[in-house]
Symmetry: D2
Subunit: 168 residues, 4 copies
């Protein structure tokens, strides 16, 4: 039996990066997701679970297996995954190939860390993703730039940082 909550899986990505003022590098500490839902005054029933906190360029097959396993085992049919933008489509393919039935899976991310204040797109993307996960039919989607894309009809343009439809 499917339950009504929305499952949010955290995997890291630019979304949750922070600035280390000692080293001058970006790194991961704690997720900002909880704080974002409070600020968004979100009253949806959410289950937020951190699966990993990594840069998506460093995500390996085993990591994607963990994500897949969690998508399969969660009891709800509405799943949002925060993910680095560079390999978002690759993870989406793994989830699609897994043949998970009856679940709407939305991968989202940010181009600028949420921790960088009013310049970040993360808060907006999370809002859009919540909209899409509650309304789209089962499938695996990418949500970026206010839009949703079928996972197999999108690519990230590395020159501009925007996600674009693949027109085949």
């Amino acid at each position: 039996m499917r339950e009504e909550f929305i499952q949010v899986f955290i995997t890291g990505g630019t979304f949750d990066k922070e600035y280390n003022f000692i080293t001058g590098q970006l790194y991961f500490k704690d997720t900002h997701l909880n704080e974002m839902f409070v600020r968004g005054r979100c009253t949806l029933e959410l289950d937020i679970k951190t699966l990993m906190m990594i840069d998506s360029l460093e995500m390996c097959d085993a990591d994607r297996e963990i994500i897949k396993h969690n998508c399969i085992s969660t009891k709800t049919d509405k799943i949002i995954i925060t993910h680095g933008t560079d390999t978002m489509v690759k993870t989406a393919k793994v989830l699609s190939d897994a043949g998970i039935e009856g679940k709407t899976i939305v991968l989202t991310g940010a181009m600028i860390p949420y921790a960088f204040g009013t310049s970040s797109d993360g808060f907006f993307n999370m809002g859009s993703s919540l909209g899409f996960v509650q309304t789209l039919p089962p499938g695996v989607y990418i949500s970026m730039n206010g839009r949703y894309f079928q996972w197999n009809k999108v690519k990230k343009n590395r020159q501009t940082g925007f996600f674009e439809n693949i027109t085949s």
Copy 2:
């Protein structure tokens, strides 16, 4: 013939309020919507039009007629309206009573002005509304707190500031 863009109508509300440091009062100057879509790196085709810049407690019948007229005359079937939260449901009723067919109309707002930086819920609500307007069937909806509500099944709880389902 319906066109593909999303129509955004601005009516004011807390969303667009600013702090006047001379008088210490909140007031309206320019809208922040354009800036929000840039920050959200939104690549949807949008048509943004300011209908008025007022507090929704001061919105009168003539103002609602203007909103209705614009919803009827726009050539697209996807409409977002930014609106003060206090009378959002009242305007939604006017739009519903107008019998506008085949259009998805989403009213949204904010509890804290966008101009107040990282405490505002406005950017998140706009993200959600973009999600809902692209996916919900024709009708008039309220989008707040990460959720959508049928316009006639929701009320604002004045004590908490949250929108709640009316369970009749």
Copy 3:
């Protein structure tokens, strides 16, 4: 015997105002001073004490007596007072008339609440005030707009919100 710490007295003012999203009014909750010194990575020895949390237009004689009493009794010779800008000069006069000897007293404030994020001048003003309180000779000063003023040679221009020298 004088001690080395800097005394910070909080009286409220725009500095510490917040937005009440239920009523749409500005109000006082907790001070933001501690958070500001953490963010400023301040390593000075500070003693921060909230004397009151009020709008300076509502400050009465008894309130100014409290401020005066505290300035007299603190064991340090370096005092910063956060204060609403509208009657800052009036309080400064009370402190000057008290004939407090050997103490540098700097009154400062903000035109936009610290809680309103990256638009506020409060963080900058607190930085300046720390600079002035450590270096100016004993006396009563106003610190605003990156400058310091002798308390009796300044007025707030109500039209512009800037503090200006009185040229007599």
Copy 4:
């Protein structure tokens, strides 16, 4: 003849770094100094000049010669230099060794870029530096953490990121 304005020299450093969302690296684009003085509602007469935009770890002898030359040739006796924190003391030594007489030179910086919003210490440090440059006697100083230090009695603690007095 000395003039009344404050000279601000920009050299880059963390202060002015920005996040490149394409590469995920920090870089320099335009300075934020002008915007900071507007936000601080600063009414001092300032002359702001960008000498270079570099990381202070990459600053070479020729760069320091440029800074020195500009400090010598400016017509005012009040100079603020924004600078990366890692070699701030080294540049201060060059300026001190130059034997510039009658000028108060304050070097300041930030541990977190100004562009990263409400987490940055830069705005506070600029406020302090304005306070110090207007009040300290001629000499070369470092202003960080709300304090000023004689250039030859301070070191940056690389483990903590704080500036500390050298107690010899």
